[in-house]
């Protein structure tokens, strides 16, 4: 039994290492390739490790497509969507968790159904026409405003606020605190970690949006970095993968870095919310 356990342990450990390497390999290989000279990229059999740090790929990627400006756009869009979703989600979540009111069930159902009506994909045509009539095409408004509220954030906040003992709310009311004071002074400070986790998930979601920015932005200066990667592939007619991978690293770097730094928060809030990034 002991011997068997040991074999089992070693096999599991080896499998674990192999799977982890396979899962991480695409990112690692892309990182290496972003430093390869064109001749190395096309060597056969393929090379994995570059012979030197060939920064030219990054310069070339930035020359072909204004990735710097696009990074800025992605950051602006992702930050405003995140703040918007948290703001609307906290207020609505608070309404559902701490109040009883007429129409609560209908309001809840109305919100719930939106989980299955992804505006940024299925409704791109009517949403685009709406943007046109508002004069928002090719603006930050179009990239941000439609996505500043979501059922997932509301439910997440509601779920969390409900775990906070109602004695606190009773005590606050007796002390003469208004509902808003209770929210700001008691609930929010107790929800910091959860809000942080939700912020990250929202940020990654917004940063990664693709179809909507693709159709609603016309000029390079309004496009996000995800679209920049596609433009880079189109611009690189010779498919110089070194340059494309350099651009990919520029687009991927910020989210991956944040993810590595605070991965535990991501995982915790993802599981507790069932929120899809």
């Amino acid at each position: 039994m002991r011997r068997k356990n040991k074999v089992y342990f070693i096999v599991s450990e080896i499998l674990l290492i192999i799977v982890a390497l396979i899962m991480f390999a695409p990112i690692l290989l892309a990182f290496f390739m972003s430093f390869m000279k064109p001749a190395e990229v096309f060597s056969f059999p393929p090379k994995v490790i570059p012979s030197s740090f060939y920064w030219q790929n990054y310069k070339e990627a930035l020359r072909l497509v204004p990735l710097g400006r696009m990074l800025l756009n992605s950051a602006i869009v992702a930050i405003f969507i995140t703040v918007g979703k948290l703001f609307t989600g906290i207020l609505a979540g608070y309404a559902f968790s701490n109040f009883n009111f007429r129409g609560k069930k209908i309001a809840f159902a109305t919100l719930f159904i939106t989980l299955f009506l992804p505006a940024e994909t299925v409704m791109i045509v009517p949403l685009f026409l709406l943007m046109k009539s508002l004069g928002w095409v090719n603006t930050y408004f179009a990239l941000i405003i439609p996505f500043t509220a979501s059922a997932t954030n509301t439910f997440l906040m509601r779920q969390h606020f409900r775990t906070i003992p109602s004695e606190l709310s009773d005590a606050a009311r007796i002390d003469g605190a208004t509902p808003m004071q209770y929210l700001l002074k008691v609930l929010l400070p107790l929800s910091k970690a959860m809000i942080g986790g939700a912020a990250l998930i929202n940020f990654v979601y917004a940063w990664n949006m693709y179809l909507w920015p693709l159709v609603v932005t016309m000029e390079d200066k309004m496009k996000t970095v995800q679209i920049g990667v596609k433009m880079l592939i189109d611009a690189e007619a010779a498919n110089n993968w070194g340059t494309i991978m350099a651009g990919t690293m520029i687009a991927l770097g910020p989210t991956l870095l944040v993810f590595f730094l605070i991965q535990h928060l991501f995982v915790k809030s993802l599981v507790s919310s069932g929120l899809k990034g």
Binding site: A30, F87, T88, L91, M245, T255
Partner: protein, 288 residues
């Protein structure tokens, strides 16, 4: 005053969802009954013509078939692999923390970037995966432009991208299985493989169902980025899914009526999913 507080609190959320989710949803229905006139200067009511066009077009049946093949294979493979791999991650083996971080990293990668990475791996001249297939199975094809390999490449990128989400949920679910259940099966002498599929897998059924719905939704919608970058729906339409076709009709061919009818068909698929979600998941899944 307190009586009105909840309504004030709901205003921001409801303004946004009514204007930007419900209004476009309603106008999808409306648009689907209209067609642009020849000069594009006015809309003409055409009744069900758009739907008739759609469902008498054999191409659209192909689109439906491609969508379901792509979605179901991606989702099935992802769930199967995630359940297997999660077994390795709950054993508290040395280095698990680091390996978890590495395995979860595709979660932070966007669909568009996963597609770029996998397009690179499958490229015949420089790609490692393409090379490995060449030496092991003697398959030497241009993956992204050959039927049916383009679909295989697409599924690979999709599975890789979705896997971390499922892993995270399976790990949480498996850690909640009481030790006593697993110990009694150990005494019964069940082998590791049997224990995994006959005892653990049924115990996490609610999570599996939840993941199935979430993954299916992802493949229906967010897969757009993967397809647009890797194959653009080709070759010969073999990777054109419903969402990709909707984009082509709405934005490349500027046929709003037809695209709106396609949105409505997608709503139909989504309402089935919503129904299943309410019927099975809401009752069974407790995330915490």
């Amino acid at each position: 005053m307190r009586k009105f507080t909840p309504y004030f609190l709901l205003i921001p959320t409801f303004v946004i969802i009514i204007f930007f989710i419900y209004a476009p949803a309603v106008s999808s229905f409306k648009l689907s009954f209209f067609q642009e006139s020849f000069f594009g200067d006015r809309s003409i009511f055409v009744g069900l013509d758009n739907y008739i066009d759609l469902f008498t077009d054999s191409e659209y049946y192909k689109v439906l078939r491609v969508t379901f093949v792509y979605s179901l294979s991606s989702v099935g493979i992802t769930i199967f692999l995630a359940f297997l791999i999660s077994q390795l991650l709950i054993q508290k083996l040395p280095g698990t923390r680091l390996f978890r971080t590495l395995m979860f990293s595709p979660y932070a990668v966007s669909p568009a970037i996963s597609a770029t990475l996998w397009a690179m791996l499958f490229t015949p001249t420089a790609g490692l995966v393409s090379y490995l297939f060449q030496v092991t199975f003697n398959i030497n094809v241009d993956w992204l432009t050959t039927v049916p390999y383009a679909m295989v490449a697409l599924i690979a990128a999709t599975v890789w991208k979705m896997l971390p989400f499922d892993l995270i949920f399976y790990i949480a679910a498996l850690q909640n299985i009481p030790d006593s259940i697993l110990e009694s099966s150990l005494i019964d002498g069940a082998s590791g493989w049997t224990r995994m599929w006959k005892i653990k897998f049924p115990l996490v059924t609610p999570i599996t169902f939840y993941l199935f719905i979430m993954n299916f939704t992802t493949t229906m919608f967010s897969s757009f980025g993967i397809i647009d970058i890797m194959t653009r729906g080709g070759p010969l339409g073999s990777t054109t899914t419903m969402i990709y076709r909707l984009y082509l009709d709405g934005f490349a061919f500027q046929d709003n009526g037809l695209a709106a009818a396609e949105s409505v068909v997608m709503f139909g698929v989504m309402s089935v999913i919503t129904y299943l979600y309410f019927r099975f998941v809401e009752k069974g899944v407790h995330y915490q």
